[in-house]
């Protein structure tokens, strides 16, 4: 009888404990949705410091570091940089260059919140096998931002607005999100005088890689132009089947002018991954310019042949200085679509009618001759480029 009472007491206590636990659990918010995290990641900006002139480009690399080799197939990042920077391209998706080497092949979203100086974008890996989806530390994309005003600031990643998705190793699980636990940004300094050019965001050049020493001019940009500094220029080196593209190659204004009185810019560049020494063709493209092919040094007109005749060496001092300044880079691709057409004209026309101006050292896509004012000269330059291009193509 005494034993029975003891059991009865024990069960009553047990019941009360169970009830109390039940009440506590009911009071907690229970997550019943799908979408729990299956891993953790950090999202960081590289490099951590940018120095650039007004009008120059900052190639902001977005990297992800996933823990425990979690595979990442999509990143939606909210990158904030303030009002001194702006996306390079009007077509925002073109400002975000996915890192195809690590299977990121599509930009599905690009939205610029100008009032807060933030860019939201989503880069994904579509149609890629799980085995090829990257894990560990890898670059997701490069966001090209243009420096539009003097000053300093920071580039930050909004942790709440940044989401990472991936391939859950547990195939039966619906959870594909990764928790963003760490974000790291960068700082920038925008100077007026051309400043230090931000290093090219590629792997460093090796000893076998070629040096490219060059002199170029931009159509219509005379020596006295105040708004033609820090223009981001893309260089493509081609030889046989090898093709390497480099953005933001160094360019310094010299005191020299070409036969038309246009300022000559020079640069020297150790091209990572380009080891071809002969039969080289180079393509230059300015920020509002058509891509121009150079097949030989001293070229003064359109190079209307396949391939190229340029020779290079892997030593800066012995690689020849290639002078392309007598055939300037054609201006007029205002919207950056690689062509000159009625859209570029219609973009420039109203600004030329209003003589829109910018401060010395500033950047305006429609100001083709770097005079700090949009006017008829820019329209004339555009028409010249159109005719030159039509002559070449048709």
């Amino acid at each position: 009888m005494k034993n029975q009472k003891r059991v009865q007491f024990l069960f009553t206590v047990l019941l009360l404990v169970a009830l109390a636990m039940g009440v506590i659990l009911v009071q907690q918010t229970q997550e019943l949705r799908k979408g729990a995290y299956f891993g953790r990641t950090a999202v960081v900006v590289k490099p951590t410091e940018f120095n650039v002139a007004v009008g120059g480009i900052l190639p902001v690399q977005i990297w992800v570091v996933s823990e425990e080799d979690a595979k990442v197939d999509g990143v939606e990042a909210y990158v904030c940089f303030g009002d001194k920077l702006a996306p390079v391209e009007e077509d925002l998706k073109k400002s975000v260059v996915p890192n195809q080497d690590d299977s990121f092949n599509v930009v599905t979203l690009a939205r610029y919140d100008q009032d807060v100086g933030c860019l939201k974008f989503h880069v994904g890996s579509m149609g890629t096998n799980a085995a090829d989806v990257p894990s560990g530390a890898f670059k997701v994309a490069t966001v090209n931002l243009r420096a539009v005003a003097l000053g300093t600031g920071s580039i930050s990643i909004d942790e709440i607005g940044t989401k990472v998705s991936g391939r859950n190793p547990v195939v039966s699980s619906n959870d594909t999100a990764l928790l963003v636990t760490t974000v790291e940004g960068a700082s920038y300094n925008i100077s007026a005088d051309g400043g230090e050019v931000t290093p090219q965001p590629t792997s460093p050049a090796s000893e076998a890689d070629m040096w490219i020493n060059y002199r170029v001019a931009f159509a219509g940009v005379k020596a006295d132009r105040q708004c033609a500094t820090g223009w981001q220029t893309k260089l493509t080196a081609l030889s046989g089947q090898t093709r390497k593209e480099y953005t933001n190659v160094p360019l310094s204004k010299t005191t020299d002018v070409n036969d038309k009185g246009e300022a000559v810019y020079e640069g020297s560049f150790h091209a990572p991954g380009f080891t071809q020494a002969s039969g080289v063709a180079l393509f230059f493209k300015g920020p509002k310019h058509l891509q121009v092919k150079y097949g030989k040094t001293g070229q003064a007109a359109f190079y209307n042949q396949a391939g190229g005749e340029i020779s290079l060496t892997n030593v800066a001092s012995t690689s020849p200085v290639l002078d392309f300044s007598e055939y300037p880079i054609l201006a007029g691709d205002v919207n950056g679509d690689g062509m000159i057409n009625g859209i570029d004209f219609t973009t420039i026309k109203p600004k030329a009618a209003d003589f829109v101006e910018i401060a010395s050292g500033g950047y305006l896509a429609e100001d083709l001759d770097g005079s700090c004012q949009v006017n008829n000269n820019d329209i004339i330059l555009l028409v010249r480029s159109l005719n030159e291009k039509q002559d070449q193509v048709y």
Binding site: R33, Y37, K120, L179, M339, N341, Q390
Partner: protein
Amino acid sequence: MKNKDIFKVLIPILAVVIIVESILVVSRLDRSKPVDVIIPEVDDELTEEIVELRQIEGKASFVFSVEDQNIEVGDKKRVTLEILPKEDFNLDAMDLYVSYSADSLEVSGLLEESGLKATSKRVSDKTGVVLANFWFMEEGGYKFEAGKSVKLMSFMVEPETAGVYELSMVESGDEVTKLVSSIGDEVVTYGFSSEKLIINAEN
């Protein structure tokens, strides 16, 4: 007494059930933590993206005309391209690209019509394209009125071999026909329709 016995059995069973359930719930909570954010719903946001260039549909038609579509090999006929506006609109720029079979047709004598002056014009037998870029410098652009067709350009066509050939507006590829206008600060393109011109080349 019998009732008392039932309680004695029921209460322990109930307790055990509640404990088991509690353990299950607790373990589930642990597994799904933390869960503040779920997978990004990209689809919803895609609609928010800033589009490249707005296209306004169906403003005009391009019409080819020729005195006679049956042309003898070695004979020349002038082909005219007109625009037929469906409604009133202004254009700041009009890039016209007409494709033709350069292997079988020779095109020459390209002229602007209606007093229009092309910024650039070419006949390219290399690419089989007749092109004319009309960029209107005047403020507000060039006004087209609904129903009032405007001749834009004309050119001579001479078949070199017998066959059926066509001329058409280029609408795909890098260089395409464009009607461009500005509405406030926005640059827009206007959609258009066009018909091909069939040339019957006879010996």
